[in-house]
């Protein structure tokens, strides 16, 4: 992913599919909003070690192909309900590695989406330095 433009083409569809499953509202984002989301994610990834970054991106790639075994289609090609059920099954997996992977990707997506000032107003979050005297 990149903070300065659209994600590279091979990455974009799978990440988009994952992000829209974690936060359905993200599907309605325009290119500028996507760029903002991805910029925050990019920064967060930059703070992680190379190994963690590599694991997360590799895991995102694996997630795209895993459904082929069961549904005969890649994750990006599943309908929203199947995507959701697939990821929910993984987060309840017996393998901590799979649970952690889903947790990491969802957490990055939440950061990208909910750390934007625009999201504050979407969810009506109003904390303000002026506290009780806020406008």
């Amino acid at each position: 992913m990149t903070a300065t433009g659209s994600p590279p083409p091979p990455v974009q569809p799978q990440l988009r599919a994952l992000a829209e499953t974690f936060v359905p509202e993200i599907a309605g984002s325009d290119p500028n909003e996507w760029r903002e989301v991805l910029g925050i994610i990019d920064q967060a990834l930059g703070r992680q070690t190379h190994a963690v970054r590599r694991q997360l991106l590799l895991f995102a790639g694996v997630l795209d192909w895993l459904p082929v075994l069961r549904h005969g289609r890649r994750f990006r090609s599943l309908d929203p309900e199947r995507r959701l059920r697939f990821l929910q099954a993984l987060q309840d997996s017996r393998l901590v590695l799979l649970r952690r992977g889903v947790w990491g990707l969802r957490t990055l997506t939440f950061m990208g989406y909910y750390a934007r000032p625009a999201a504050y107003s979407e969810i009506d979050y109003g904390a303000h330095p002026d506290g009780w005297e806020r406008p």
Binding site: Y114, I123, D124
Partner: protein, 514 residues
């Protein structure tokens, strides 16, 4: 490498380092040179914006989300002028007597810890907020506790001029919180202690430290370091390590000191916690007012503590289990959310410890013991009852599957919230009370330091932070850290003449190329 020389060098500016710095002002008055090194930056008041990611990046190590070795828990460590005291909520409790007694550290008496805690409670303006400053998120907690027959207690907090921004954990934008950044560090600087920010201590050598001073990067918050960027070798008659449980342990581990410190890094505890959320039918005041005004102490009976809390959008989203439409609906009910922080009182056990990797970076090894899982699950059940008793119509319980419980489920919380649903890696668990690693005791076989923070076998080296704790404190740790740091400073003052006899901090402060 540039050389400098001081009589005393303190590493870290949080509750421990800041306290030691202020308490060593009398040494400065006696002509000694005292230096404090802080890895983080010093921010201007206007830089505290309350915006979640930018403040987390500026004030915390790794944005407040340091992962444990197996990736199943995130740890929050302050990294700024004032350390974690600039990012906590100011809650200030005196450690229970039973905890200090259970530590069984020779020469550490409860009464001494209590009286020193009282000293800092007074110094840092610890008091109870008046009822009119308590928001509904807190009041509902009290009501809910009362409703199920439990008694919530009010947190004493160290604020002055609190405007109720609710942004404590992102650094108070009104500088109301009286952490070391507001009280002890300014006093130390006024008294002649030199403070250098953006200064990372690479390792400790025999009466010296290797220090890397970083330059500011574009977009960084905070001013430049007081020293020019570069590598320094700082000679020190006495070194006081106060970089927090993880920072201090890792620093000493990678320093390969000439002493046998077999217990170094061991005894790590952290009060593993998660955030519980409940949805009320109508809006409540939650994102305004002091966020953490009440608690329920069940440590002695059931091994957990519940605290009121209110977090920011991303942290809240992260801490809700799951994702998708249900998660989104809950996030969009933000104004109607009540929150409780659940903390397990973990115990020091073999295996939960701090090590360093080949690059010298800390690695925290932590597994959730069955006792911790039981405590978190039981705490979640109690919280669910409190939420419903307070009028919530829906409760999000991470240890339930599915995690959303409706009001009609109120009688079945024991069955629905269950240990089998506590899946590490799925459930968000975080910790901010990082303790142990340089524990106190009687000798090198059982500890790293004595009761005065003196590292066994190295009289010039002291530890003054939460790494001294022998086991979990079972309450918020800051006042106890300050009390122990006060003891460390006192012993240094008494011993300074002997320790520094023949020692000369002869440097003028000018950079001398070697």
């Amino acid at each position: 490498m540039i050389e400098r020389s001081y009589d005393v060098v303190i590493v870290g500016s949080g509750a421990g380092g800041g306290t030691v710095a202020a308490e060593l002002v009398p040494l400065v008055a006696d002509g000694r040179r005292v230096l404090l090194l802080e890895q983080g930056a010093r921010l201007e008041p206007a830089e505290f914006t309350g915006r979640e990611i930018e403040m987390a990046d500026a004030l915390y190590e790794e944005g407040g989300a340091v992962l444990t070795g197996d990736g199943t828990m995130t740890l929050a460590l302050g990294r700024t002028y004032g350390g974690s005291t600039s990012v906590y909520t100011g809650t200030s409790l005196v450690v229970p007597e039973r905890v200090i007694r259970s530590w069984a550290v020779p020469d550490l008496e409860y009464e001494d810890v209590r009286s020193r805690s009282a000293k800092y409670a007074a110094q840092n303006n610890v008091h109870l907020l008046p009822p009119e400053e308590i928001n509904e998120n807190n009041r509902l907690f009290v009501e809910g506790c009362t409703g199920i027959g439990l008694v919530a207690e009010q947190f004493p907090v160290n604020v002055k001029g609190c405007r109720g921004s609710s942004l404590c954990n992102l650094g108070c934008p009104n500088q109301a919180k009286q952490g070391t950044d507001r009280v002890q560090l300014p006093a130390a600087e006024r008294g002649g202690v030199e403070i250098v920010t953006r200064a990372e201590v690479v390792r400790v050598e025999e009466r010296a430290l290797v220090v890397r001073v970083r330059s500011t990067r574009e977009g960084d918050k905070g001013g430049p370091s007081e020293w020019a960027p570069g590598e320094y070798r700082v000679k020190a008659g006495i070194v006081v390590v106060a970089g927090g449980s993880i920072g201090s342990s890792a620093l000493l581990l990678r320093s390969r000191l000439p002493a046998e410190l077999r217990r170094l890094g061991e005894g790590f505890t952290c009060h593993p916690a998660h955030i519980l959320v409940a949805e009320h039918p109508s809006e409540i005041t939650n994102d305004v007012g002091h966020p953490k005004s009440f608690y329920l102490d069940r440590a002695e009976q059931e091994g957990y503590v519940l605290e009121t809390c209110m977090y920011f959008p991303f942290v809240t989203a992260k801490n809700l289990t799951g994702f998708g439409p249900d998660h989104s609906r809950l996030m969009r009910a933000f104004r109607r959310l009540q929150m409780i922080l659940v903390l397990a009182c973990d115990r020091a056990v073999p295996g939960n410890r701090i090590t360093v990797d080949r690059a010298g970076r800390p690695v925290v090894h932590y597994r959730f013991t069955p006792q911790v899982v039981t405590a978190l699950v039981q705490a979640t059940r109690t919280s669910a009852r409190i939420f419903f008793a307070a009028g919530a119509e829906r409760v999000h319980a991470p240890s339930a599957n599915p995690p959303l419980l409706e009001a009609r489920d109120a009688e079945r919380v024991n069955a629905l919230i269950d240990e089998r649903h506590f899946l590490p890696g799925k459930i968000s668990v975080s910790a901010a009370h990082l303790m142990g690693g340089c524990g106190m005791g009687s000798g090198p076989r059982d500890s790293v330091t004595d009761a005065w923070g003196r590292v066994h076998g190295l009289p010039w080296l002291r530890v003054a932070d939460s790494s001294l704790f022998v086991d979990a404190l079972q309450i918020n740790p800051y006042l106890t850290v300050m009390a122990l740091a006060d003891r460390v400073a006192e012993k240094i003052r008494y011993e300074a003449a002997d320790l520094l006899d023949g020692w000369q901090a002869g440097d003028t402060g000018a950079p001398d190329a070697v």
